[in-house]
Amino acid sequence: MKPDIEKLTDIATQVRRDIVRMVHQCQSGHPGGSLGCADYFTALYFHVLKHNPDFNMDGTGEDLFFLSNGHISAAWYSVLARSGYFEIKELSTFRKINSRVQGHPATHDHLPGIRVASGSLGQGLSVAIGAALAKKLNGDDRLVYTLHGDGELQEGQIWEAALFAPHNKVDNLISTIDVNGQQIDGPTDRVLSLGNLHAKWEAFGWDVLETNGNDMEALVATLDLAKSRAFKGKPIMILMHTNMGHGVDFMMGSHKWHGVAPNDEQLAAALAQLTCSTQDY
């Protein structure tokens, strides 16, 4: 299917509006990374994945997605709601009491679209490898996708999984790292350097691609390329370069908006920069 870049960009703008409104409404959450990955989530759910909003946990015959850096949940919830997993108005319950739309993704309250809890970092790659192995055992030829933060790579479990997948030829797995260079306490280079990520993942035996995660055309092309390289003996890793806070000028490129909600004035300023053809929740 040929991607409609204009339409995807329009949806991504709506996702960004959802993110800032959700985070503003409960005055908590993580707008920076969510905004940076809005294009990825949109491309994934509205172009890449073969998926069924009539959710079932096993996802047999479907592509599966796992969000390992669960704190950017607002972006995920937005695309799940807007692709039909649950009602869009439920986004207004984000991070509030008695809600299925928890601060970090959870299966516990049966929110459709979520297959494992995440938030404590570094665990999603292992879970995704397990799901990919189950697909192979079941003769299911669909793919498994994951998203991780770059700061998350400081967790040791990631590198256990990084060793396992190539050794076991888990080639139905397409992982992506959101390389925005920021984490809570500052730039990753200052907190704990990640070094040459391309060389590192290649040395571990992954097929490594790079893309600009805030250029919809480039991003979609890379995701399509990744899909064409599946089932060739290697797991695939996309290093996706993004701007934290992308789409809202005063939030862009700084770790300061990792986990801070905008006030009323900042919300109005942000929404003024985000115009699209669809309706807010």
Partner: protein, 319 residues
């Protein structure tokens, strides 16, 4: 005192190995993962029969727990295998988030629990695992008492939907339960009916409790002995019924006094029927190297320790 005899001794981990093979034959969705301890976990027979359903993880326990959670998505029933220490303390957060909170049907199978792994010493002798696992909402915690019961428990958890912690050990101990027993998760097993004291024992301590019961009978004490193989959910009705009759309790386990079976029983009793209780358990310390029997004696986990605890608690009851 009911007479228990045995013709053979075996390790409970071998019961796990046999149970895993049987469960694998019964259900094609059963898969096994191991973190470089295939021989210690007695998984060879399963691997030989079902090589495509075995995943060698390497020394990466966190990755193993995460992958097990993922394998359930797609209907697999993963059994993870490593030592109890590396099955719990090392991977507590992975179990908490990816398995327990996510309600995944993973069977965490843990060998070499407690002091009785012996010579390797305290780095490997976990005495806190029951406490950690029972605190997780939705986690079932099982600690069977001999080869036959461990085999039956392994088969039973394959049929049960939900996360389970199955704890077993290394030492060779008498086989005294029925090879064809039906293992019902959460149902205590009446080893011996008595009236003077309730001994609630789990794991390797059940056989010690039987030996203690024989000594107590010689002293004129009629001990009720109940095997609590499922620590969570606790068979509350069985505990309360027994205690209503005997009026005093000894709990016996190869675990820290803090957080184990004894605490579960004490908590039940304090809410329903406060009762004098003595603990046969490790007194909030780490273990050390030594032969299993030497360690069980030094840390007061053998039949003599149970006899002493019974005498003490009966004296308290009479006050």
């Amino acid at each position: 005192m009911k007479k228990y005899t045995f013709t053979e001794k075996k390790d409970t981990r071998s019961g796990f190995g046999a149970g895993l093979l049987a469960a694998g034959k019964k259900n094609k969705n059963v898969v096994a993962l191991c973190a470089d301890l295939v021989g210690s976990l007695k998984m060879e027979a399963f691997i030989k029969e079902f090589p495509e359903r075995f995943i060698q993880v390497g020394i990466s326990e966190a990755n193993m727990m995460g992958m097990a959670a993922g394998l359930t998505i797609g209907g697999k029933i993963p059994f993870t295998g490593t030592f109890a220490n590396f099955s719990t303390g090392r991977v507590y957060d992975q179990i908490r988030q990816s398995i327990a909170y996510s309600e995944k049907n993973v069977k965490i199978c843990a060998s070499h629990a407690g002091l009785t792994l012996g010579e390797d010493g305290a780095t490997h002798q976990i005495l806190e695992d029951i406490g950690m696992m029972k605190m997780l909402p939705g986690m079932t915690v099982i600690n069977p008492c001999d080869y036959n019961q461990t085999k039956a428990a392994t088969e039973a958890i394959a049929e049960f939907e939900g996360p389970v912690y199955l704890r077993f050990g290394r030492p060779v101990i008498p086989i005294f339960t029925d090879p064809d027993q039906e293992f019902i998760i959460g149902k205590a097993w009446m080893v011996n009916e008595g009236k003077d004291v309730s001994i609630f024992a789990t794991g390797h301590l059940v056989w010690e409790a039987i030996l203690a019961g024989e000594k107590l009978a010689e002293l004129g004490i009629d001990a009720e002995i109940i095997n609590i193989h499922t620590i969570k959910p606790l068979d509350e009705a069985a505990v309360l019924k027994s205690v209503a009759k005997t009026g005093c309790v000894v709990s016996a386990e190869e675990h820290n006094r803090i957080g184990g079976l004894g605490d579960s029983i004490a908590q039940l009793l304090v809410r329903n029927n406060p009762t004098p209780q003595e603990y046969v358990a490790v007194d909030d310390s780490f273990g050390e190297s030594g032969k299993p029997a030497e360690l069980m004696a030094k840390y007061h986990l053998d039949c003599d320790a149970i006899v002493a605890a019974v005498q003490k608690v009966i004296a308290r009851k009479k006050k």
